[in-house]
């Protein structure tokens, strides 16, 4: 893609759509499939004198790190080779965060379900919800309550969706002139500085850690 177009910001733009759609999908589905494919191996490991936490976390780290490495090799290296700037770094950062978030969510889904097909279905639903349905609902909210000052409310609602959060971090870099109009200034003030960065990072970390933690609790008690 970098060779097709001389304008790097346009390439980043296309990568963004891939990032927001494909990355969560692949990470989620791959994780679920992996979990069920190595189910027997997990059983075997649990028969050993190992703590369940260790086994679970080892699996989590293995999957997460391999997907992150895949992302860095696939998207990271080309972007870095063809020009490092703030938007490509943000792209990399949000991509990694999204990968981790969806690995966590998929693990949670996997431990909560009993069979593979169901787990994949639910993971797909989660993905579908966050990348499509949530935004549709948001748009409906915006339309329905357009008369009211919505800025702050939207800010909160958007923060609740990791995909949206990643997207906003990116458009703050890419479409800054459009955002500067209207309510954009508010978002920029909020997300554009270090505390905003810290805020969004912590929200994403919550999205990573909380599902893993719940999944771990479930896994410990689960009747394998």
């Amino acid at each position: 893609m970098y060779q097709l177009d001389t304008d790097t910001s346009k390439v980043i733009l296309s990568l963004l759509s891939i990032l927001l759609l494909i990355v969560p999908l692949i990470s989620g589905v791959f994780t679920t499939i992996h979990f069920y494919n190595s189910y027997e191996f997990t059983e075997l490991m649990l028969a050993q004198p190992l703590r369940r936490e260790t086994v679970f976390l080892a699996q989590y780290i293995a999957v997460a790190s391999s997907l992150c490495v895949a992302f860095v090799v696939g998207v990271g290296f080309p972007t870095l080779i063809y020009g490092v700037n703030s938007s490509s770094l943000t792209l990399l950062y949000t991509g990694l965060m999204l990968t981790l978030v969806f690995v966590s969510l998929a693990f949670l889904v996997a431990v909560l379900t009993r069979d593979k097909a169901k787990a994949i279905g639910v993971t797909l639903l989660v993905w579908f919800f966050f990348s499509l349905i949530y935004d549709a609902i948001l748009l409906w909210v915006v339309y329905a309550f357009g008369e009211y000052p919505l800025d702050k409310t939207l800010l909160v609602l958007v923060s609740l969706n990791p995909v949206d959060l990643a997207r906003i971090l990116m458009i703050l870099k890419l479409d800054i002139s459009a955002l500067m109009g209207y309510t954009g200034a508010l978002y920029k003030d909020f997300f554009g500085n270090y505390s905003g960065m810290l805020f969004s990072t912590s929200i994403l970390l919550v999205w990573i850690l909380v599902p893993v933690w719940i999944a771990l609790r479930v896994f410990k008690k689960k009747d394998i």
Binding site: S131, L139, Y182
Partner: protein
């Protein structure tokens, strides 16, 4: 200082008026050390005399010039208004003021205090001055044949009300502004009832309100000016027959900031200009019969906001590149023409290979109309859902205006020297 040479023709004309006078003219010299004052020199001088002012700091103010004089500062002598006074007031014809550094004029919105003020004056040249921390910089009313050339006007302060305009012209004809740099004022260049004037090669930046602001100023021409990073961009109103070519409108950011705001402009030409990184490139309201030709719109939030009150405008052969939204509008009836433009978002094909896309391009996206109605919706931009909505609307327009389209979109961008 190549700007001095460019308009030599006009200068020569003026000099030819002045030179015969100067044959018998005296040269009066003023030095800070000799105790002579500039106002004293002005009082004793006769029509056609030259007053040479040597370097130094002169705390003289409210000098009223009622004779044809050439007042020349050597190496920019400083005239200090001590934040109380005005400096020069010209109420005569054939006056040249050149080479001064004027600082700290008084501030008053009641009297419009200015560094150099002209009232009912003709054939005035104001050249090569540095105006620093002035309220109004150059304030001219009811005059004709004004040349304002190569001045540097800089002021600072946080608020709009703390400043006057940089170059302020009211009811003038045949003004000629060239090579001025204006920074930090309320409006960089302000024209009201100024006709048949030329504005060339000026830079107006970081002004608190508008870089250029004119009203009722017909038959003016603007070439090669730059309007950068002004509080609200450029606003031009109630005017016919304006020509703007090769200007740059850049980095005007904010919800009510425009690269250029056109309100009730008719029969004008906007050609070869560059609009880049503005929140809105051009905002048009009540504008008609205006030609937009070979402009470059680059990385703006909205390239053009075309309100439904505009008619008979033609956009032809412009480049639209990297804008978030190309065109947005607020109505369904569109009476303007788009033709032969290059749109980087165009996804059509060119089967007969004539360089023109075979399917029309619709520059208004559904989402831009949503944002127009509910601005906070902007937060959903670039989400998958919005992408789907836009696609659906593109293939079967329901909400977006059906007839706002470019029937002959170019496949390749124009090479517009930028």
């Amino acid at each position: 200082m190549n700007c001095l040479t460019i308009h030599r023709g006009l200068l020569l004309l003026l000099l030819s008026i002045l030179v015969p006078l100067q044959m018998e003219a005296n040269i009066i010299e003023v030095k800070a050390t000799s105790g002579k004052s500039i106002s004293g020199a002005i009082a004793t001088a006769k029509d056609g005399d030259t007053i040479k002012v040597y370097p130094g700091i002169y705390k003289e103010a409210n000098m009223v010039i009622t004779k044809s004089l050439y007042i020349l500062g050597i190496d920019h002598p400083v005239l200090d208004g001590e934040l109380k006074h005005e400096i020069f007031t010209i109420a005569a014809s054939d006056v040249i003021i050149e080479g001064f550094k004027i600082i700290n004029t008084g501030r008053s919105s009641m009297e419009d205090k200015a560094a150099i003020k002209c009232l009912d004056a003709n054939n005035i040249i104001i050249r090569n001055n540095i105006l620093h921390h002035t309220f109004f910089g150059i304030h001219i009313s009811n005059s004709s044949g004004i040349i304002i050339e190569c001045n540097y006007l800089l002021t600072y302060g946080a608020h709009e009300y703390e400043h006057g305009n940089g170059i302020h012209l009211w009811k003038c004809t045949d003004a000629y502004l060239q090579g001025n740099v204006i920074e930090g004022h309320r409006d960089g260049i302000y024209f009201e009832f100024v006709t048949k004037s030329k504005i060339i090669n000026n830079i107006s930046r970081k002004n608190k309100r508008y870089g250029l602001h004119f009203m009722f100023s017909h038959d003016d021409e603007y070439y090669h000016n730059s309007f950068i990073n002004n509080g609200a961009g450029v606003a031009v109103m109630y005017t016919t027959n304006v020509t703007m070519r090769y200007n740059k409108f850049e980095e005007n950011w904010g919800s009510s900031s425009y690269g250029m705001l056109l309100k009730d402009i008719r029969d004008s030409h906007v050609e070869f200009n560059t609009f880049s990184s503005n929140t809105t490139g051009i905002y048009m309201e009540g504008t008609s019969r205006t030609l937009f030709h070979k402009n470059e719109f680059r990385e703006n939030g909205y390239a053009v906001k075309l309100m439904a009150s505009c008619d008979d405008n033609v956009f032809s052969k412009n480049n639209f590149k990297g804008n978030t939204f190309d065109i947005s509008t607020n109505g369904k009836t569109i009476l303007n023409t788009l033709e032969h433009n290059y749109w980087d978002k165009y996804q059509g094909y060119d089967r007969d290979r004539n360089g023109i896309g075979d399917v029309p391009y619709r520059p208004v996206s559904l989402f831009s109309m949503i944002v127009e109605q509910v601005p906070p919706a902007m937060i959903l931009w670039r989400s998958f859902f919005v992408m789907i909505l836009d696609r659906a609307e593109k293939s079967l327009p329901v909400v977006t205006p059906e007839n706002l389209k470019d029937l002959s979109p170019k496949m390749k961008s124009y090479d517009l020297h930028s």
